[in-house]
């Protein structure tokens, strides 16, 4: 089980505050929307990750637990 940051792209308004708080895992595309790393959140960044999630004005970020395989993840 690992933890990953997930963004709800429908809620996100792209002001990019999260990328300032957590540049190690979040970068912005050229329109200012976050590209979130697929990598697990390392223990050393857990506090920053929680802060970025808590401060997102649109509540678009979540911490997601992932098991090795996602059963019904990506349909087309």
């Amino acid at each position: 089980m690992s933890r990953h940051i997930r963004v709800n792209p429908i809620l996100c308004d792209g002001f990019g505050q999260c990328a300032e708080l957590l540049p190690e895992l979040i970068e912005l595309d050229e329109w200012g929307y976050p590209i979130v790393s697929e990598a697990p959140v390392p223990a050393s960044l857990e506090a920053e990750a929680r802060q970025a999630i808590a401060l997102c004005p649109r509540l678009a970020l979540t911490l997601e637990r992932r098991r090795a395989a996602q059963p019904l993840g990506a349909a087309r």
Partner: protein
Amino acid sequence: MSALTVREPQLALEPRLLSRTSCAAPLPALSRAREREHLLAEIEASGLTGRGGGGFPTATKLRAVALGRSPIVVANGTEGEPASSKDKVLIAANPHLVIDGAVTAARLVGATDVVIAAGRADGRGIAALEHAVAERRGFDQGIALGVVAAPDRFVAGEEKALVNWLNGGQAKPTVDRPFERGVRGRPTLVQNVETLANLALIARHGADWFRELGTPQEPGSALVTVRGAVRAPGVAEIELGTTLRDVLAGFGGLTAIPQAFLLGGYFGTWVSARDALDLPFTNESLRPLGASLGARLVIALPQDACGLAETARVVRYLGRESAGQCGSCYFGLPAIATAFEMLAGGTADAPQALERLSRLVPQVEGRGACSLPTGATRLVTSALRVFAHEVDGHRAGRCCAPRRPAVLPVPDLHEHEWS
């Protein structure tokens, strides 16, 4: 060019999905848990996978939804793909088989509500479904059947969008997965109409019968739409694993030397004619080319057409069809379309356009709440690969195929509704 000559039609296939005799036998009883488990095992053994583009194993989906409380079944016949007609043809030819499949799926997962969705523009399909539902009145004990006419948007057939629209919203995707939280918040099985028709046939004839056609990994038949440079464009049922050459022969053969095929739909993949012509029509054999069966669409692009110009029009269309909810899709797809148009326009700006595309594609791929952005980048990437020689020509300011009618149909700028 002997490698591209076409043989006699090889599609002498006894139609299953498009024949009404296939639904003459009664459906099996499913009132007992043992009977349902038997059929679920049979569907698993049949290897049936989704026919709506994703290719997900149907038995796995049925089992997941069956675990939920009072689920709902949605038959997806919306077919928003502009060049595709296979679901419309199936619905018109055999509405009862589709409904049989939906009712059987409902009994398997414990649903009492079945919604059958077709596209609003598909008047013939809606009428056929409504007529069939009326004919069945009193037959499907304990199941409520409804027919709905969904908005005609490319994205409206995406399962989360369809569920959102059925819930009274716009036909735009959400982030809720239907099998967990779908129509009225209930677990929802969304299944393509061709998948359901196959399910009804497996319920009647069993897994071994189903596997008499196709390959061991990809059993069964498939409805395909074939258009472009073929004599008799349209829809036919083929055996999975038939070579593309034989599929084309079944559509009257080629009318011109093809340079490439678009496989899968508008978020499919371009493959060069030479690479693909003798490959069996299966996901397995197309995978090395980066292609898949997708929405089972084949468009043969004749030698005198411009693959870049054709792609540019489709990418612009896909950008227009963005539901405008996710920034990377709303901004990214039009930006890609603009860069691609620059490239296809054969102007001196082509080198910059190519460079811009190489920066845009990674920013858009895999983003968004649905696969529209990923599908669009797949199309663009494959076009740059397959038409690489043309890219060089266009970089030098040359377009190979000046004014000729478009091969890939793109709906006019429309004001189709989202709800």
